[in-house]
């Protein structure tokens, strides 16, 4: 059954939720038995996965810091999940208390959770929407009064685009989101890949089908293409730990073992 706005109307706790599995991997307790079972199962097959998720979170943290440093004070975090800790608003508002953040997720429980922890934070808002409807996300973000799309904004797509299969035309979605921003805006993407990966990664991908959505692994070229005509900032689309590490030694010897690329692109005036 679906609601009039097209979003699923049932809260099915007999199925694991990607957001809650992610939370578990990050050490959170915003999850249920069914989520933890799946998380343990995935972790059992791909020991690196927990690390990947932590690395993804760390990449997001480093990216947001960099964006705040570049003067960005509005963030549209799509696929925010259950923001256990180290959330965008925490990172950004620690550096700029006036930073505004709109969280977007398809999972109604994640949305409810976000609303609950953000209660009282007037610079934030939560949108229940599907990434496959980017026009609606942009419209809702403005309606919410949190994001002003006439000013530069950072669109964050951390670990979410790989939930969109090719059949749903992710390029169109990205193009719509990019087109919705003004020059000076940024796009951050982290995305799982099969490049440089051992076979068990593919098994994990199969397992992920047991959450609401399946993961589509993509190449660096495909992920780079999502930035369209945006200018990639240094160091481009790279294995996540290599993206502006806190310290040179942080990435370790095999940053590719985490199986995900990350990058940030800028909407330049001449590109737009």
């Amino acid at each position: 059954m679906r609601l009039p706005d097209g979003l699923p109307a049932d809260i099915d706790l007999t199925r694991p939720s990607a957001a809650r599995v992610y939370d578990y991997f990050l050490g959170g307790a915003h999850n249920f038995e069914i989520d933890r079972q799946l998380a343990e199962q995935i972790a059992g097959m791909t020991p690196n996965l927990a690390e990947t998720m932590r690395a993804g979170r760390a990449f997001l943290r480093r990216g947001v810091r960099m964006l705040v440093d570049e003067g960005i004070d509005q963030f549209l975090d799509i696929g925010s999940g259950i923001p256990t800790v180290g959330n965008v608003h925490e990172v950004a508002q620690a550096l700029n208390p006036a930073a505004r953040i709109a969280y977007v997720d398809i999972d109604p429980v994640a949305v409810a959770h976000s609303r609950s922890i953000l209660a009282g934070n007037e610079h934030t808002g939560v949108i229940h929407a599907d990434l496959r409807e980017p026009e609606r996300i942009l419209a809702e973000a403005e309606k919410l009064g949190v994001i002003d799309l006439r000013r530069p904004v950072a669109v964050l797509l951390a670990g979410v685009v790989h939930f969109i299969p090719d059949s749903d035309d992710p390029q169109r979605i990205l193009a719509t989101l990019r087109a919705g921003t003004v020059p000076g805006s940024y796009l951050l993407i982290s995305h799982s890949t099969y490049e440089d990966q051992p076979p068990e990664m593919l098994d994990a991908q199969r397992l992920s089908a047991r959450t609401s959505t399946e993961i589509t692994l993509r190449s660096r070229a495909e992920i780079t293409a999502f930035f369209g005509d945006f200018t990639l900032v240094e160091p481009g689309v790279v294995h996540m730990p290599l993206w502006r590490p806190d310290e040179p030694t942080d990435p370790g010897e095999h940053p590719e073992r985490l199986g995900a690329f990350g990058g940030v692109g800028r909407h330049d005036r001449d590109a737009g």
């Binding site: 109307a9 809650r20 932590r54 979170r57 180290g86 109604p108 409810a112 959770h113 806190d246």
Partner: protein, 738 residues
């Protein structure tokens, strides 16, 4: 110390407040630094660290100093251990191994690295106590945090559910409002047809209460007028083969009255696709439907009489042709009142209309039982369509009925009118005709009925129609034929019976018709007389004949060959006829006594039984006059005596009769004998026509007949042929002379 902490924290902590103000005596600062760094590294490998590497290291240094101070404090209290344990959890350093690493680091190297100066007996129990409190603080905080998060996520689930339910409720409320307030009737039924719910508009439409309708099965709403296949469509719908059906349907209301609706039924399926409900939307279109019916009725009926009009008639007829088998018979009676215009003109249109209404009703009544369609075609024309594959006789019986129905006097106001009608009757198998042909035939036949005296029916006769059509074609083509030179003249020799020598030739006109071939005078002279073209045609023939005769006369002056030309009645009555004849004689140079004009008895007699005045003037020109076809008309023998006639031509039938030896032949022989005697008594010569056999010739000769013509002697021939005969005869004579 703060600088070294800052140095250890890297550039990120350059702005930060020093996390600890003073390490007590005995704390080895570089050692604390080293300890914290390693501790930070170890916890970072245990799970997600939400802060930067430098920040994490800075926090771990603060905890290290805190713990060192606790060990050194007097009096000793392990309380700070709680706080550090709790702080670890709050910094999200919650991985299970974090506690392991932290406790083990305290036991294994804290005193040695951070408090190298502190005697072991003092340090060991205190560190052990701090290990305990740190563990307890960590566990307690982790428990609080876990419980809090569990509660929060559970709460979030509830909220999400609330929200969904609220959205559903809102949605439900909106749809409910639409459902309840809709002007259109909406009904929901399950797959068995049991009505689940209806809105007030639906209930009102059918005149039931909502509660009553909820007890009803849709099958109970069957109406005998339901369109063919409608319930089959419904069946396909509930079987899931269709998703929507739309029909116009009639319902009975509770009070028994009927209501026309535009009904759209849609299927609602389970999530797995199985049919679940049907939703019907009905709109009352009774008024529209009635208006349509009325308009349709008006379009197909005559407003005066209420009978079907010609449109409906032609619809039905067309349908018959479209759907009937080729052998099926169709019949129509095309009826027109006799003298209706006179009724209208003398009694006024109102009475005329009344008469039409009465006639219409009678016609409808007289065939009502047989179910034939009676239509008013317009004016006083009616048509009865006999479409039940009726035979000829049945159709004629209908025509009799119709005539009888009309014949009954009609009381219109104070007038009692006796009217009659004429009817054209046509019937036949569908395969042999078409709508257009049938109607044309009916029209023609009606005309025949009128022409034959009205108050009757006439049955269609295709041969008669064909003749008339040929006639029309001939009439239409005749005048151009003359211009185009399609006519020609042939000459039939007339011989003296005594020596069978040619004494004259009769000019006979021929029409070389482009489509019908060569036509003899019988085929068109009558038509030419009707149309008046005979005057022009006759002059043309006369001219051609006299020209030929003139040539013969010049070439064979001794032959004294007479040219005999027919003069039709209409020509004879033409005031210019005498002038025409004298002109032709003058132009051709033919001596008048070599021209014989043949007139029929009726042509000789003008109106009022008087002989034609032109006869004497023609005779005065010196022209010979003959009565053609003598014995077939009514001759006034008294006048015959006084007329300037030279010759009688005996009509063919008498001559044909004397051929036979039976009683009729005997009678004809006596008639010919009498006619010859009569003619001779009057001083006239007699020419017999149509002589075909030597027997006839012999008998005619024996009876004293003067001359004869016919195939026995010679068929009509072109001028050249006659010329050759004349030449041959002249040579024979010359031979005889020499």
């Amino acid at each position: 110390m703060s600088t070294s902490a800052a140095g250890a924290g890297g550039d990120e902590s350059a702005d930060d407040e020093p996390p600890f103000s003073a390490a007590g005596p005995g704390v080895d600062q570089p050692g604390a630094q080293r300890y914290a760094e390693r501790w930070a590294r170890e916890v970072a490998s245990c799970g997600y660290v939400p802060t930067s590497t430098a920040e994490n290291r800075r926090q771990m240094l603060a905890h290290t100093v805190r713990l060192a101070e606790a060990v050194l404090a007097e009096p000793f209290t392990p309380q700070p251990g709680y706080e550090v344990g709790r702080a670890l959890v709050e910094a999200h350093l919650t991985g299970p191994d974090v506690l392991d690493r932290s406790v083990r680091a305290l036991g294994e190297r804290f005193r040695r690295v951070v408090l190298p100066d502190l005697p072991e007996p003092v340090a060991t129990p205190r560190i052990a106590a701090l290990q305990g409190t740190l563990s307890a603080g960590f566990a307690g905080a982790l428990r609080q945090r876990t419980l809090g998060q569990q509660e929060r996520i559970a709460q979030s689930v509830l909220e999400a559910r609330d929200r969904v339910e609220r959205a559903l409720r809102d949605s439900e409320a909106r749809f409910r409002a639409v459902f309840v307030d809709a002007a259109i009737g909406i009904g929901i039924a399950d797959i068995d047809g049991q009505i689940v719910d209806v809105n007030p508009a639906f209930a009102e439409l059918l005149g039931y209460s909502i509660a009553e309708l909820r007890e009803i099965n849709v099958a109970a709403l069957f109406h005998p007028d339901d369109a063919a296949g409608m319930w089959e469509l419904y069946q396909e719908l509930i079987e899931g083969k269709q998703d929507a059906v739309r029909v116009e349907k009639r319902y009975y209301r509770k009070d028994g009255s009927a209501v026309w609706t535009d009904l759209a039924v849609s299927l609602i399926r389970h999530d797995d696709g199985r049919p679940r409900f049907t939703v019907a939307m009905v709109e009352d279109i009774t008024e529209r439907h009635e208006l349509q019916q009325r308009l349709r009725y008006q379009a197909l009926h005559d407003p005066l009489t209420g009978l079907p009009n010609r449109t409906l008639f032609f619809d039905r007829l067309g349908e018959l042709f479209a759907t009937g088998a080729p052998d099926d018979r169709v019949g129509i009676c095309f009826l027109d009142l006799d003298g209706f215009k006179a009724v209208n003109d003398s009694l006024g249109h109102d009475l005329g209309d009344n008469l039409l209404v009465t006639v219409a009703r009678r016609l409808a009544d007289c065939v009502a039982e047989q179910g034939h369609l009676v239509a008013r075609m317009g004016g006083d024309e009616f048509v009865i369509l006999i479409d039940h594959n009726a035979g000829c006789r049945a159709v004629k019986a209908v025509a009799d009925l119709a005539l009888a129905a009309v014949a009954e006097p009609v009381q219109v106001g104070e007038h009692r009118l006796s009217v009659s009608a004429s009817i054209g009757v046509v019937s036949g198998p569908l395969a042999t005709t078409s709508v257009a042909e049938l109607m044309k035939a009916a029209d023609v036949t009606l005309y025949w009925a009128k022409a034959e005296g009205r108050s009757r029916w006439v049955s269609y006769d295709p041969a008669r129609r064909a003749r008339e059509q040929t006639r029309s074609a001939l009439i239409a083509g005749m005048s151009t034929a003359l211009q185009r030179g399609e006519f020609m003249v042939e000459y039939q020799p007339i011989v003296t019976l005594a020596d069978e020598a040619i004494c004259a030739v009769e000019a006979l006109v021929r029409w070389r018709h482009p489509e019908l071939g060569l036509l003899g005078p019988d085929g068109f002279i009558g038509l030419a007389e009707e149309t008046g073209l005979i005057v022009e045609l006759g002059r043309w023939v006369l001219t051609r004949a006299c020209e030929a005769a003139s040539r013969w006369h010049r070439e064979f002056p001794d032959a004294r060959l007479v040219i005999s030309v027919n003069l039709a009645a209409r020509q004879a009555r033409d005031p210019a006829v005498v002038g025409t004849v004298s002109d032709v004689l003058r132009q051709t140079g033919l001596p008048a006594d070599l021209l014989q004009l043949e007139l029929t008895e009726s042509a000789v007699m003008a109106t009022a039984g008087e002989p034609l005045p032109a006869l004497r003037r023609l005779a005065a020109l010196g022209v010979r006059l003959a009565i053609d076809d003598f014995g077939t008309g009514y001759s006034n023998l008294a006048y015959l005596r006084r007329l300037p006639i030279h010759n009688l031509k005996l009509a063919g039938p008498f001559v044909e009769g004397i051929r036979s030896s039976d009683r009729q032949g005997l009678v004809d022989g006596r008639i010919v004998d009498a006619l010859v005697r009569l003619a001779h008594a009057l001083g006239l010569t007699v020419t017999a026509e149509a002589v075909e056999t030597p027997g006839q010739a012999d008998q005619l000769r024996a009876l004293g007949c003067d001359a004869a013509q016919g195939r026995y002697f010679a068929a009509p021939a072109p001028e050249g042929e006659i010329t050759r005969w004349l030449t041959a005869r002249a040579e024979r004579r010359r031979d005889r002379v020499t």
